[in-house]
């Protein structure tokens, strides 16, 4: 029997089956369980393109890994037939053989090249063959949400009718979905009509206690923390080398100049709260700067943007004066709060700069658009200015208005550089070792990329076979955990 006739015969039988299916569909509708949802009943005649669509194999359903026990995931191998405008969709029902209805919440249907398992590492491990497996995630809590949503809308309409005295019918009731036995069917749909594959899918979501997709983050974090602690221990014994950082050598020069000219210095800790690590780095550095200021018997003013940062700065400077052996010279009024609003803070600091003409300005911590306002006004009063920030966008503005700028990580190395404390130098050495590891990983990635490029030239589908897959897996290990 030639393929052509076999196909036609197949379509005839399928059409008859579909016809037989219709009354059942209608009947189910009349019975109409109390679900407030009058789902779109699939039109009786399913188009030929859906009937011809070959059912994908390996349709499985299981609990979604790495989630809080609210979702299940359906996975299936890509179907060989690839007609346009046909998309996958999922129908549900509350009984294994009950009427299957579209999902009550807006579930976007999946096109034939979407939702590939290889592209979502949050829930699936990276394999090359996962490129031709689809997945669909169904969050069971959205059933209750949509029921509540329906109930609210129904109540609004009901109260409206009551208010205007119209016949309101029975009072709407909140529909309870029984989440334990919800059954799903995968189907294909094109402009309104749908064909469900008759495999009934059911799974119970489970709450995981470890997110395996973040395993690479955990390993790298723990290893790096271990290296830091180890280096801090070894740093106590042997001394360390740190390359010259121009900005930090200039700190002494700036303090000396301010003392000669008998004018104060301004020290700003940035506009972020105490919970941001760059603000913590800025306050640590203030401690070391204040110790030098105490020795030089000069004065440093610290206008603060956040009250907690102000308290920390007061504690740090008091400790510095105490260690420098001059606890009486500490004056808490030099460390004061202005405001927590960005531009009134800047206007006030600019006004103080122009009036008191400080000899040196230190801008450390995290800054936003006001970096240039501070830098430009400070520059016009002729002060030495040293800035250190990890907010990338603001570094160019500090470069054009300050004498020295610490770029990114140099701010975090500052307190170690100035204090030369062995335990702080140790963590600098550790981050250098981590940088070396990153460089090696980058080089390996380059080599693998070149190899894969030539492999892809030879065999576009599976460049370099198993080795190629291992290389891609190496690079995916460094991929971030999405979401």
């Amino acid at each position: 029997m030639r393929a052509g006739t076999r196909n036609r015969l197949f379509c005839l039988i399928a059409a008859l089956a579909a016809l037989a299916f219709i009354p059942f569909a209608h009947a189910a509708n009349d019975v109409g369980s109390a679900a407030p949802f009058a789902g779109a009943v699939p039109p009786p005649i399913t188009p030929r393109v859906l009937l011809a669509f070959q059912q994908p194999e390996e349709i499985e359903v299981r609990d979604l890994p790495n989630d809080d026990g609210t979702s299940i995931v359906i996975t299936w191998r890509q179907s060989p037939s690839q007609p346009e405008k046909v998309r996958y969709t999922v129908y549900f029902s509350e009984g294994p053989d009950g009427p299957y209805k579209p999902l009550p919440f807006d579930f976007r249907s999946i096109s034939l090249d979407e939702n590939l398992m290889a592209e979502n590492l949050q829930y699936f491990s990276y394999k090359r063959e996962h490129r031709n497996y689809h997945y669909a995630i169904i969050n069971l809590t959205s059933f209750d949400e949509s029921a509540a949503n329906e109930y609210e809308n129904a109540m609004l309409v009901y109260e409206d009718k009551l208010a205007n005295g119209l016949p309101a019918g029975p009072e709407p009731v909140l529909y309870e979905y029984d989440l334990e036995n919800l059954y799903f069917k995968l189907g294909v749909t094109t402009n309104g009509s749908v064909r469900l594959f008759d495999l009934v899918l059911h799974a119970d979501p489970v709450e995981q206690w470890f997110d395996w997709s973040k395993f690479n983050v955990l390993i790298m974090g723990v290893v790096f923390v271990g290296v830091i602690l180890f280096m801090i221990e070894t740093a106590r014994r042997k001394d360390m080398y740190i390359r010259r950082i121009a900005g930090l050598d200039a700190v002494d020069e700036a303090i000396g100049r301010a003392t000669e000219m008998g004018r104060p210095m301004f020290y700003l800790c940035g506009l972020d709260p105490m919970t941001t690590v760059s603000t913590i780095a800025a306050t640590n550095l203030l401690g070391h700067v204040a110790r030098k200021v105490a020795n030089y018997e000069s004065k440093v003013k610290v206008p603060c943007f956040d009250p907690i940062v102000m308290s920390v700065c007061q504690e740090t400077v008091r400790e510095a004066y105490f260690e420098a052996g001059r606890p009486d010279a500490y004056n808490p009024d030099n460390i004061f709060f202005l405001t927590n609003d960005q531009f009134s803070y800047v206007a006030a600091v600019n006004g103080m700069m122009v009036r008191e003409k400080p000899a040196a300005n230190f801008f450390f911590g995290y800054y936003y658009a006001e970096s240039l306002l501070l830098g430009e006004v400070g520059q016009s009063t002729g002060a030495i200015q040293i800035a250190g920030t990890d907010s990338n966008v603001q570094i160019p503005f500090f470069i054009t208005s300050c004498d020295y700028v610490l770029i990114g990580e140099e701010l975090y190395a500052a307190s170690a550089y100035i204090s030369r404390e062995p335990k702080l130098m140790g963590s600098i050495k550790a981050s250098d070792m981590a940088k070396a590891v990153i460089l090696i990983a980058l080089l390996a990635g380059l080599v693998f990329s070149i190899a894969l490029y030539f492999g892809a030239k030879a065999n576009p589908q599976h460049p370099l076979g198993v080795f190629g897959e291992w290389m891609e897996y190496f690079m995916e290990v460094f991929n971030q955990h999405a979401g």
């Binding site: 983050v217 006030a348 990329s449 995916e476």
Partner: protein
């Protein structure tokens, strides 16, 4: 345009000119605006914290039910931040000021702890993964030459730039020889990056002043020519102050004699 809005626009135009006067030099008008702004912004922050954090999250959860229609039970676990907040205020009493260290430790410890995971994830991994050339090249391998060659060049250039910039940040190694040269290339890449970033933000900054100018020229002018009247008054005052300064033999740009010497403190 009732009186309420008319006065409002005049006040807004006046304060705008006062703050812009700082471009000329520091003057009593700017100082007045600065202190007014400090007072108002602090009051606004107190309202904002009360209205968006203290009232809904603390009072609403522990003491008072803010939505009478909903079922509500007091959640006493939220007394902990309240107590820690009061402990933080202990700083004002020198005798028990050391108590505030517990609250400080809570906040700083929380800040340090919450930053490690996301930092490894989005600061390290995301940047590292997107630097691998294959990631950008993979989907384009089969593409025609016109599209593939630029992608190849950009992918390799991106790799070299990130590599050299990272080498620049080595601290415990002398920047000499091969490492020194790579670090120099890194500095060049940083300079191009900073120049481009500077140039791209000029548009946004200029549009800020365009917004203010639109307010002055359109809204303020419509409210009884507030802009032109206030501007002429401002210029007159500046001219008179300049004449007085010249008669006292100092350039107008210097501040007046120490009638208000900088407050020592």
């Amino acid at each position: 345009m009732n009186a309420f809005d008319l006065i409002g626009i005049w006040v807004a135009a006046g304060l705008t000119l006062m703050m812009l006067s700082f471009l000329y030099k520091d003057n009593p008008f700017f100082r007045l605006g600065e202190h007014l702004y400090l007072g108002i912004s602090n009051a606004y922050i107190v309202w904002f914290l009360w209205w968006t954090i203290v009232r809904p999250d603390f009072i609403g959860r522990v003491f008072v039910n803010l939505e009478p229609s909903q079922p509500w039970t007091p959640n006493y676990s939220y007394l902990v931040p309240g107590i820690l907040g009061l402990i933080m205020l202990a700083r004002m009493v020198p005798a028990i000021a050391w108590l505030s260290r517990w609250a400080l430790a809570f906040i700083v410890g929380w800040g340090a702890g919450t930053s490690i995971g996301p930092t490894v994830n989005s600061y390290l991994l995301a940047q590292l993964y997107s630097t691998f050339p294959w990631v950008n090249l993979g989907p384009v391998v089969g593409a025609p030459v016109g599209e593939f060659v630029p992608a190849l060049v950009n992918a390799l250039l991106l790799f070299i730039c990130v590599f050299t910039v990272l080498v620049y940040f080595f601290f415990s190694v002398e920047h000499k020889g091969a490492i020194g040269r790579t670090a120099d290339i890194g500095i060049w890449v940083l300079m191009v990056a900073f120049g481009a970033s500077f140039g791209s933000t000029v548009m946004a900054r200029v549009s800020l002043f365009v917004g203010r100018a639109r307010f002055l020229v359109q809204d303020a002018e419509r409210a009884g020519h507030a802009f032109s009247i206030l501007l002429t008054i401002g210029i007159l005052i500046a001219v008179i102050a300049g004449i007085i300064a010249k008669r006292q033999g100092r350039s107008p740009l210097e501040p007046p004699p120490p009638l208000d010497a900088p407050p020592e403190g």
